[in-house]
């Protein structure tokens, strides 16, 4: 039994989601008999960790600081083993643009995209290039902040007139945004769990939003707003392809412990496109990784036990 610090909350926009994930993890760790220290991550993080002397940190943070390698770097400095991916994988995963470039370079299918910093528009006249981008990506275009999880700030532009407004909204969340081709089809989530040092794809979850035409922040976290099908009704061949693709992305990014890969199955072509990889996917009651684990016969406590077991390994 270990002394485990659960890092949760923090300053990111996904603070509330993280608090829910963290609380659930704490309960599981207690049931597993660990000595749990709950830390709402703030300016006193280093002091708290120094005082509490945990053997392991369970990082239940989402979004900025917690999922982008910042907290992981601090834990490295302090010599505290921690769950999930290491610094470099977190950095690559948190920045959707970096991740998509890596995928494209490796030949992993990801929707076509263009990414810009705010300065490109402010100082380099990038707005003039928008019609060319629109022509290549074709409407509707998805516009999203480069480093923001939980679908916050993601907008659909259906016509050229929507693009400036969508860009202004996306730039509210990050100084870098991407314009991405919209893949019409089914929204699949492939959760990956490290099993004895090798990544294993768990049963695939399909998210079917009930009301919105888009799987947004609200429907992602409110019970009843989205129907989840797990395992998703896919042909064996497509399921296998999606699983292999997800494991490929997991390895490409260099993840450890666990992750979730979001994939679109294009309706017209049956082609799969990887949208992004989440280095610390949600662990709330409605989150997809716990659902996938459950479908694989791995209960939440067991999931937490396995994630904890791999802490500090493989990096």
């Amino acid at each position: 039994m270990s002394r485990v610090a659960v890092l949760k909350g923090g300053r990111s926009l996904e603070r509330q989601v993280s608090l829910r994930s963290g609380a659930r993890v704490e309960e599981a760790l207690e049931r597993l008999g660990h000595d749990v220290v709950s830390i709402d991550v703030g300016a006193d993080l280093v002091e708290r960790l120094t005082a509490e002397q945990p053997e392991v940190a369970f990082v239940a943070l989402h979004g900025r600081d917690g999922e982008d390698g910042t907290v992981q770097e601090l834990l490295e400095v302090m010599g505290i083993a921690y769950t999930g991916s290491g610094v470099s994988a977190c950095i690559r995963a948190a920045d959707k643009v970096l991740a998509k470039h890596a995928m494209r370079d490796r030949g992993i299918p990801t929707p076509d995209f263009y990414a810009f910093n705010e300065t490109a528009f402010r100082e380099l006249g990038a707005a003039v290039a928008l019609p060319a981008i629109e022509e290549r990506l074709r409407f509707p275009i998805v516009i999203k902040p480069a480093c923001q999880g939980s679908a916050l700030g993601i907008k659909f532009a259906r016509t050229p007139a929507d693009v400036p407004t969508a860009l202004v909204a996306a730039f509210s969340y990050d100084r870098k945004v991407l314009l991405e081709r919209h893949v019409k089809g089914r929204d699949l989530a492939v959760s990956i769990l490290d099993e004895n040092g090798s990544p294993r794809a768990l049963p695939i979850v399909e998210a079917v939003p009930r009301e919105e035409d888009f799987y947004d922040f609200e429907s992602r976290y409110v019970i009843g707003r989205t129907t989840f099908l797990c395992p998703a009704a896919l042909t064996q061949a497509i399921g296998d392809r999606a699983a292999a693709l997800a494991v490929g992305v997991y390895e490409l990014i260099g993840c450890s412990g666990f992750a979730r890969v979001d994939i679109m199955l294009e309706a017209e072509t049956d082609e799969l496109y990887v949208l992004e990889l989440n280095a610390i996917p949600g662990l709330t009651e409605t989150s997809l990784l716990p659902q996938a684990a459950d479908a694989a016969g791995i209960g939440f406590d067991e999931l937490v036990r396995r994630i904890l077991e791999r802490a500090g390994e493989g990096r």
Binding site: E14, Q16, E118, R122, P164, V168, F171, S172, E218, V222
Partner: protein
């Protein structure tokens, strides 16, 4: 129950390092600790056992006398027997809904409406129809048209909810002429009006206007008052005065909810009213809040871009600012939080998704220097977005400079949006035929 990204964002506004113009808080640091200690001592010495005991559901007689006193200050005479003491003014909204509203029933409210009423209306599954406001408050012509349209489809609102004085969040006040019109409409159509008046005594300029309750003589108007803004929200004491059959049902509803409001609070309030003239503290609050309002108005003029508009409240706690339609204030809040400042996105004050480019700004909860700095920070991010939009569209943004002249009416702010044309109004006036008839 509604949960949203906005709620999660709003949770971040409570961080210590954030200047929050998002709350609706009166400044309780203005209440002298010595007075508090002395009043608590009075309660302990004179009424210890009773203050620690349950109270009658309708409230203690001694606090009802205080309520009559407060209502008199706003030109209303009320029989203490007609008063139900509640747990804050918020409970009045809840009890009225509990008493009157079945799922699918229509409630008419202002657009925007009090954000705190939105979850209550949603919890009772009311169908809220919102009527536009301008600088003179709710547009009663639009109200009549809305009621006519509802009638044509066989629907009748359970009540009309209004905050006539220094509206939360719009900051505007219902004109005398419209008050008379609203009461006439209520009487002619035999419709109930819930008059929510938390801020009436916090007037910083202009003449006091009669309440709807006094104009109607209590026939169709249910009145909601509170000690929250003139004494303390921590006391959780409000009240309602209503036609007797409604009051009796509300009493039963309150028994089911919480049996009674805090006896301790009621004894505290009674002791406070006995100890010294209660108007003095209200006067001191008025001075403080008037200065803060002026500081905020000046800061808005200095830091907000020309494209922005805002109201000029004669009292209360809030200013309602509206930005160009291409700025979504829920998204903007994310950027504002980066700059450690917060406001309430306008969408919180609408049930129908409008208000996306408006924001509510509170000037009572923080000091003058924080208001100045908070508005400067919001102004900076707004100006950045206006400039960015200009760059993206080739439009030249208007120079960011002090704007003079009168504040523009709220109606113009909410209607004159290039991306949200008249169909917004049509949405209110034209009700889909598929809506089920009120039961």
């Amino acid at each position: 129950m509604k949960s949203s990204a906005m709620r999660d964002l709003m949770a971040l506004t409570e961080r210590d390092d954030v200047i929050s113009l998002a709350g609706g808080l009166p400044d309780t640091s203005t209440f002298p600790p010595d007075s508090y200690a002395s009043l608590m001592r009075t309660v302990a010495v004179n009424s210890c056992a009773r203050a620690l005991q349950y109270a009658p559901t309708e409230g203690l007689a001694l606090v009802k006398r205080c309520i009559a006193d407060v209502m008199r200050a706003e030109g209303m005479e009320v029989d203490p027997d007609e008063v139900l003491v509640t747990t804050g003014g918020q409970q009045v909204i809840d009890l009225v809904c509990k008493t009157l509203v079945d799922p699918g029933d229509v409630i008419v409210a202002e657009a925007p409406t009090y954000p705190g009423a939105v979850p209550t209306f949603c919890a009772y599954q009311a169908d809220v129809v919102q009527v536009t406001m301008d600088r003179d408050g709710m547009r009663v012509d639009e109200l009549e048209a809305t009621l006519d349209e509802l009638e044509r489809t066989g629907r009748r609102p359970k009540f009309i909810y209004t905050v006539p004085n220094f509206h939360n969040p719009a900051g505007v006040t219902l004109s005398l002429e419209r008050r008379r019109e609203l009461v006439r409409i209520a009487q002619e159509r035999e419709l109930m009006v819930l008059e929510d008046n938390p801020y009436g005594l916090l007037r910083y300029e202009g003449e006091r206007l009669p309440t709807l309750f006094s104009l109607d003589a209590g026939n169709f108007v249910v009145y909601a008052g509170t000690f929250s803004k003139i004494l303390s929200p921590g006391m959780r004491l409000g009240w309602t005065v209503a036609p007797r059959p409604v009051l009796e049902k509300m009493n039963i509803g309150k028994q089911a909810s919480d049996l009674c409001s805090s006896s301790l609070s009621q004894y505290f309030v009674a002791a406070y009213f006995d100890a010294s003239p209660w108007h003095d503290y209200v006067r001191s609050l008025i001075e403080i809040y008037r200065r803060r309002r002026d500081v905020m108005l000046d800061a808005l003029a200095e830091h907000y871009p020309r494209e922005a508009e805002w109201t000029h409240p004669q009292g209360g706690l809030f200013i309602w600012a509206t930005l160009p339609a291409y700025i979504d204030t829920t998204d903007l809040l994310a950027r504002a939080l980066e700059q450690r400042v917060a406001f309430v996105p306008g969408r919180a004050a609408y049930i129908d998704g409008r208000g996306g480019s408006s924001m509510r700004l509170n000037f009572s909860g923080v000091g003058e220097s924080e208001i100045r700095e908070g508005i400067r920070r919001i102004g900076e991010v707004v100006c950045e977005q206006v400039a960015l939009y200009g760059t993206l569209t080739g439009a030249t943004p208007a120079p960011s400079s002090a704007r003079g002249g009168d504040p523009l009416p709220v109606a113009a702010e909410t209607e004159a949006q290039p991306h949200r044309p008249d169909d917004e109004l049509a949405k209110i006036l034209r009700l889909p035929a598929t809506r089920k008839r009120a039961g």
